[in-house]
Symmetry: C2
Subunit: 351 residues, 2 copies
């Protein structure tokens, strides 16, 4: 297993007396100022954070905004293919993208546990900064709190985000129509299995890495084919099964798909079999489900496959009038089964 | 000591099998859906949350937006005069208000500890809903995570917010000018001492209650006198001392004020003396510091005093050219002392 390396990161000078986070770093005084100025502001530098006010002023044209929030409480903080910081940026970028919005600004709220190594925080902040650059978004405002040792788990991160929704785009969970085609943007379950492999110390023949990635580029490319995309959803907690059930329910339609067409890495498939898990329920952090009109489906698929984040995209099924609110899979041996919403916890704290 | 009562709250029917939060409530499946639908959506009901999408679409006129974030990790969750939910709404409303913005939409990100009583969550959500009504804002989007028992402290809440800044308003920490007048909107230290009194089990002759309150109404009234308000800041963590130091530093000016003019409840003053604390460093949750041009100061003060949130407003000092970046207090016995930024923790986890 290889963890991401951050050899370049060194603790900023004014913080070097504090190898670990202490309560004072969240207390609103000089120590917190040092932390913000010398660590976060350096990592996230942009004009907006430079305003140093309680809230951030953003000039925008008249338009529709997307606004979302997500807290990240993942354990472990670093995992094959990513870390909590990258996840916190990509996850919120993706939530904005699922409305067709162009993500613009994020907030970052940190809940730090007393005793968190400063170096860990530095690595995570650096990772967030890199992810922002990749996704072309800015962290516009932030907040830091510290909780007593034993009342957190190193670091929790909340990111909220705002984005601009282009004119004529109207993507909602209620828009699926019978006849529409269901596309997934790549292999399912990579993130959840990557996390589980670290937690449980499992070894597979080839390493399974998280798929964490920003999907805004993919969505913008899809919208160039047509603005008439009906539904988009990133398949995070609850996996593909949760997304399909939510869309079927919201649009009052049935969804039918073929299990054999769902892209799966062989090693993820093997891990699921070994662990007795259904890959349809496993979380992803860089995959979306799209429901699109049939006449655009092939063109959209072709465009998706040209991008790294959509390379393994596939059409897996369609929207039907029958069994409204229900998702039915045709199994590889030719039978049918109802794919329900997961009841509760499968893998806790994977995002 | 009296805690707020929520006799009206009853656990929604589909949740009654779960007297306590379990890991599944944060797992993205049916149990989390139940929690969102039957608890949060009921409490926060508005058209935006009804969109049920990953992010929320907001139609706005062409204008400047304010965008802010804050996590609340307070202990205890309920305290004289308020609770974490009310605080999480008012705090973010106030952060937006300090740019002169009219707060419009909040996000709410919950990090819940396994084992949190459902009733506690219900009370907190109800309290947030009431606070939103009072402040005339809507919770537009939300997120729920659950962490293992022992890795949180009941509940942490992040609220982010967006607001619209009226044309011609330009309030920033860098705008203080020599000759400007410093106003505080009421008594200092109430929130911090209220929290401390519960934590330490202190008894005072009369109960000290938190000042938690939304300040958007107060700011809008002040802006009706003139849009030419230079700085606004709510005096939360670090208290009045932190705010004055930050403004002096940002504007590269000196600030002089008279200690005797700082409004203080006698019981807060007595508690501080007993505990050896300086009330200038104690947190507030419903008080602002304004720096305004001298010629408008008396009119602004008069308007502030007409509102409940500004009833005890007072002019406490002025901005000077001398000792740039430094805050100097004239003590009640006629001497002078430098009031520095608090170095670190005074009272951890009070907001």
């Amino acid at each position: 297993m290889s963890l991401p390396t951050f050899d370049g990161w060194t603790c900023p000078l004014p913080l070097q007396n504090y190898p670990n986070i202490v309560m004072g770093h969240g207390a609103g005084g000089k120590m917190m100022n040092d932390l913000i100025r010398h660590l976060f502001a350096v990592e996230f530098q942009n004009d907006l954070l430079g305003q140093l006010a309680d809230s951030t002023t953003i000039n925008l044209e008249a338009s529709r905004l997307a606004f979302t929030t997500d807290s990240y409480v993942i354990s472990p903080l670093f995992f094959p293919g990513g870390d909590i910081g990258e996840l916190a940026v990509n996850g919120t970028v993706n939530d904005l993208s699922m409305s067709g919005a162009r993500p613009l600004y994020l907030s970052a709220g940190f809940i730090l546990e007393e005793g968190l190594p400063m170096e860990t925080l530095g690595r995570i902040a650096a990772s967030m900064a890199r992810a922002c650059k990749t996704a072309d978004v800015q962290i516009a405002t932030g907040d830091t709190k510290v909780v007593n040792k034993g009342h957190g788990d190193g670091i929790y991160i909340n990111t909220s985000g705002i984005g601009l929704i282009p004119k004529d785009v109207d993507i909602r969970p209620t828009n699926a129509r019978p006849g529409d085609v269901v596309i997934v943007s790549g292999t399912m379950g990579d993130h959840g299995i990557a996390i589980m492999s670290v937690r449980e110390g499992l070894k597979f023949q080839s390493e399974i890495v998280s798929d964490t990635a920003p999907l805004n580029g993919l969505v913008q490319a899809m919208l160039k084919v047509t603005v008439d995309i009906h539904c988009l959803r990133d398949a995070t907690r609850g996996g593909l099964a949760a997304v399909l059930n939510e869309l079927a329910d919201a649009s009052k339609v049935g969804i039918k798909f073929e299990e054999a067409k769902v892209p799966l890495r062989p090693e993820v498939s093997a891990a699921c079999e070994m662990l007795g898990l259904d890959p349809l329920f496993i979380a992803n952090e860089g995959k979306l489900v799209a429901i699109v009109p049939e006449n655009y489906a092939e063109n959209i698929l072709a465009v998706m496959r040209q991008l790294p984040t959509g390379r393994d995209s596939a059409i897996i099924g369609k929207v039907v009038e029958a069994h409204a609110g229900m998702v039915v899979a045709r199994t590889s041996i030719g039978g049918s089964r109802v794919v329900d919403l997961p009841a509760g916890e499968l893998l806790p704290r994977i995002c």
